[in-house]
């Protein structure tokens, strides 16, 4: 995973994207989005409601594993997060494995709820904490979930958003430039005309991470929480 400073920038970017939403859910293996959603909740004085899979303290569901998915199909869930072993130029993600479908040479954890949530949740934010040419590819080997217009990708180097069918560079984090991002990316991309450096994590957000947000993170993602502090 990336250096703590870069993770903090990612948390800041995602927390800003969640402002004003009502209900945000965080799935498995998603520590950066969990931190960002909790920061957004604390700074928004309890809004959005945040549901973290696997948490006993930040999970409002009472009807078992299916409730999150039923919420999504009804339009009661505003945002969700997906990573992927591969993310491609169209914003499609691959969570399953590498190689030809049905005869893969390497398998990851599995598709989880991504094939479903990606088409039903209005704001799906893609994230990847190890931006590189092997993870950000021209075309995914397996489409766990296709990309859609307007979708955001937040990595430890930069922020992209899909426009006109492809991801476009929106900003790069401190220490990067458009050229360094390009060299580390496996697909060709255009740069938005107003692209610039990604704003850092606000002091108020950092304080939340040291306080109440950190306590929840230590429950669900202890290794990640230790890395941040």
């Amino acid at each position: 995973m990336a250096e703590p400073e870069r993770l903090l920038v990612m948390i800041g970017v995602i927390a800003r994207l969640l402002r004003g939403l009502r209900h945000v859910a965080v799935g498995a293996s998603s520590p950066v989005p969990a931190a960002a959603a909790l920061v957004a909740r604390e700074l928004g004085r309890g809004r959005p409601t945040v549901s973290i899979l696997g948490s006993e303290t930040s999970n409002p569901f009472t009807d078992g594993g299916r409730e999150l998915f039923d919420c999504a199909a009804q339009g009661r869930l505003d945002a969700f997060f997906l990573s992927g072993a591969q993310i491609d130029a169209t914003g499609a993600v691959n969570l399953l494995g590498l190689g030809e479908p049905g005869r893969m040479r390497r398998r990851f954890m599995g598709n989880f709820g991504a094939p479903y949530l990606a088409s039903l949740v209005p704001n799906v934010i893609l994230f990847r904490t190890d931006h590189g040419v092997r993870t950000l590819v021209e075309k995914v080997d397996f489409v766990t979930a296709p990309g859609v217009e307007g979708r955001w990708l937040v990595t430890d180097r930069a922020v992209f958003r899909r426009q006109a069918g492809r991801l476009r560079l929106v900003s790069w984090h401190a220490g990067e430039m458009a050229e360094t991002v390009r060299a580390a990316t496996g697909f060709a991309f255009e740069t938005a005309h107003d692209a610039g450096e990604t704003p850092g994590l606000e002091a108020a957000a950092a304080a939340q991470l040291r306080g109440p947000v950190g306590a929840v993170l230590r429950e669900v993602y202890p290794a990640f929480a230790a890395q941040l502090t």
């Binding site: 479908p101 598709n111 989880f112 709820g113 094939p115 479903y116 990606a118 039903l120 489409v143």
Partner: protein
């Protein structure tokens, strides 16, 4: 009269389909240990909707022929090592799924119908990996639709905090266990303790209780969910889990580790 975990394991025949909860729900590691000990084989696991340590231990011990699941992992500790090795060797078949398709399949079984329609998913390559799923227009809206078949496991096996003397089992908010108990042909549970009062007599308890109607046998197993932990009772044994994740990467050290786990309990 409650049973022992070994008695529960003895009820599960080789080749059975066995629904198991993910590590954050209710895991009867006490019975998994007995399944390994008795040399269970040919089990077909169903994840509710994903699989974790229980599945990896059973796979490491050679008890499993196949899995149907949305994912299988050791959570923050990464890939499930024994599963990964078995998958590469082709010794365990994988029916790839996604969380809501498993919930829908169990819901269909719960309702006694052959299938349910499912939103989303169309557009994913997953559909192409599932010849048993059906695509076609929704008869009411004409929109493209996906139908998934009922999932009716032979067994549900889980661990919970409390049962009563009648065999009612309290699961609290872990209602994927309720759904799976409704869907499965037979349900077996271990619990931390058996209480003297009737769980169905008080709505505070009854609302989170699987009635004995669905539960075939209950065994008492204090700390029966260790090392993954049990909600509101005890947390995961992180040192044990990290040691397993490391040891299980190599077949020989994996076997040594599991042998020690069998000796300890």
């Amino acid at each position: 009269m409650t049973a022992t975990p070994a008695e529960l394991a003895a009820l599960i025949p080789d080749g059975a389909t066995l629904a198991l909860a993910p590590d954050y729900s209710g895991c009867s590691l006490a019975t998994i240990r007995e399944l390994v000990r008795k040399g269970a084989s040919g089990l077909r696991l169903v994840g509710l909707p994903q699989l974790g340590l229980q599945a990896d231990l059973l796979i490491a011990a050679g008890c499993v022929a196949g899995v149907e699941t949305a994912a299988i992992s050791l959570g923050e500790l990464g890939l499930a090592p024994a599963f990964d090795r078995a998958w590469r060797a082709g010794s365990v078949t994988v029916t790839e799924s996604t969380c809501p398709a498993i919930h829908a399949g169990l819901t269909a079984a719960e309702k006694g119908v052959s299938h349910l329609p499912l939103a989303g998913v169309i557009g994913s390559d997953l559909v192409g990996l599932r010849p048993d799923w059906r695509l076609g227009p929704d008869p009411f809206t004409g929109e493209p639709g996906l139908l998934v078949p009922a999932i009716r496991p032979d067994f549900l096996l889980f661990h919970a905090a409390v049962a009563d003397r009648s065999g009612n089992v309290w699961i609290g908010v872990r209602r994927e266990l309720m759904l799976a108990a409704h869907a499965a042909r037979r349900t077996l549970a271990t619990v931390e303790e058996v209480v003297a009062h009737d769980l169905l007599a008080d709505d505070l308890w009854a609302a989170g209780t699987i009635p004995a109607l669905y539960v075939e046998r209950v065994a008492t197993a204090p700390a029966g969910a260790a090392p993954v932990g049990l909600r509101n009772r005890y947390g995961p044994d992180r040192a044990w889990l990290a040691a397993y994740a490391e040891a299980a990467r190599d077949p020989a050290s994996c076997k040594t580790f599991i042998d020690a786990w069998l000796r300890d309990g």
